[in-house]
């Protein structure tokens, strides 16, 4: 299947899960907000150009903001994620990015440990920035730290579940 079409379908499914399922679960605790949608950026192919990443990030953020009615909040966080992604991949992968075909970052193409590191770093960046922005408007530092830890752990669990249970076709290298 064409990479673009595949990713558009994936975006629609991920947005559906985030907006209509995760957003409607009764809150477990005041500190836990389940964020899952940024897995779309994590799963984009290796060779996506940095400019394209930024534009895709902006689009995804605006889509989430449309449903959460928080103009710009998620957009800002996803933009940071999209900007940092190439650097993190560069750190973890010895290869030049242009050498890759249409492969995506998975636990097979990257190896389980580097992939987990990649997910952890970017999840913390995304949630940290998002909650920092929320905290700048109001709230205390303790609240900020608590929410960062609780929300990030839930995000990590969700992303890892997504990675382990959703079968993505990749050629094993």
């Amino acid at each position: 299947m064409n990479v673009v079409i595949k990713n558009i379908i994936r975006l629609i499914l991920i947005m559906f899960v985030q907006v209509f399922i995760l957003n409607n679960i009764t809150p477990l605790h005041q500190l836990i907000v389940p964020y899952f949608y940024f897995i779309f950026i994590l799963w984009l192919p290796f060779k996506t150009s940095r400019v394209a990443l930024l534009f895709i990030g902006f689009l995804v953020g605006m889509l989430v903001d449309m449903f959460y009615k928080t103009p710009g909040l998620h957009t800002a966080a996803v933009l940071l994620l999209a900007y940092l992604r190439p650097f993190v991949i560069g750190l973890l992968m010895p290869k030049e990015i242009t050498e890759w075909g249409n492969e995506e970052p998975t636990r097979f193409t990257m190896g389980l440990a580097p992939f987990t590191t990649y997910v952890i770093i970017l999840t913390l960046m995304h949630n940290g920035y998002l909650i920092l922005l929320e905290w700048m408007n109001f709230g205390s530092f303790l609240y900020f730290m608590g929410k960062l830890i609780a929300t990030s752990s839930v995000s990590l669990i969700l992303v890892m579940i997504g990675e382990l249970f959703i079968h993505r076709k990749t050629r094993n290298r």
């Binding site: 009764t26 005041q30 449903f67 009615k69």
Partner: protein
């Protein structure tokens, strides 16, 4: 000059990132005005349509509870009908009325319009709801929104078929409230922590407050009909610095489970606004 171009070329992606980031942040920090912008109206119309489709499915799951709530409200309303009330015979007296206009006739100040809640959130620091009723159906900004059990919020943005409601669970909520027992004017705010607990400030310590007291909307509000339930006092703390209490109020309505709401139209709103603007001019 060449150096400048080289600089721009080298940092093009970073500059693009900065521009986008600034756009996002400027939108974020002007979110109060956001709902009245063209993009805000467009996006609420689009997301509203989608939310409406999905809510069609969701609403099946709560039909039973919804039914029970409506039955309870019906029973309450029926018991208020004049046909169900008796007057003591001794007060009746036949008098030939010489005044041709019935000056004791009441007229309606608040009109309730039924609306369907199609999206809702309780997780965030600023929670909004979306109603499937917009300016085409007579909703205007600043109208009150109440549910069967109590106050929900205020309309802040209207597009042609949808409207956005700022729920009480919002960091900028400020609502004048009174204790149902009588005395004491206070202010309802939300501290962003628990979606079932609001904070009631500014009730003076001269008032006796007990856990379980009902908190209702004040008769001085120009949006909310007086006496609508807001919640019940769940904890009483003395504010050491001032002469007032800080009360925790359990919300009357379960915000995570709202499916129907009423938009309240105050028919005297224009008159009140005119008077206020006259006051401000002087």
């Amino acid at each position: 000059m060449r150096n400048i171009f080289l600089f721009i070329r080298r940092y093009a992606i970073f500059i693009l990132f900065l521009i986008m980031q600034t756009t996002a942040l400027s939108m974020l920090f002007s979110y109060n005005r956001f709902h009245s912008t063209l993009y805000g109206m467009f996006s609420s119309e689009v997301s509203g349509r989608l939310n409406d489709r999905v809510d069609n499915v969701y609403s099946y799951f709560s039909l039973r509870e919804e039914n029970e709530k409506l039955r309870a409200q019906n029973a309450q309303l029926l018991s208020q009908l004049p046909s169900g009330q008796l007057f003591a015979d001794t007060t009746k007296r036949l008098v030939r009325d010489t005044v041709k206009i019935d000056s004791t006739n009441s007229y309606r100040q608040f009109e309730f319009m039924d609306a369907h809640v199609i999206s809702n959130s309780v997780f965030l620091q600023q929670n909004y709801m979306m109603l499937h009723r917009g300016s085409n159906q007579g909703v205007q900004a600043n109208m009150a929104v109440v549910g069967p059990e109590g106050v929900i919020g205020t309309v802040i943005g209207v597009s042609s078929n949808m409207s956005t409601v700022m729920s009480l669970l919002h960091r900028q909520t400020k609502l004048i409230a009174v204790l149902k027992k009588g005395s004491g004017l206070g202010e309802i705010v939300w501290d962003g922590k628990d979606p079932q607990t609001l904070i009631l400030n500014k009730i003076p310590k001269t008032v006796v407050v007990k856990v379980g007291d009902t908190v209702v909307t004040s008769p001085y509000s120009d949006r909310f009909p007086p006496g609508m339930n807001i919640g019940f006092v769940s904890a009483v703390t003395n504010d050491q610095e001032t002469n007032t209490y800080i009360l925790k109020v359990r919300t009357a309505i379960d915000f995570s489970n709202v499916h129907h709401a009423f938009v309240v139209k105050n028919k005297l709103q224009n008159e009140m606004d005119e008077l206020k603007s006259k006051l401000n001019k002087e």
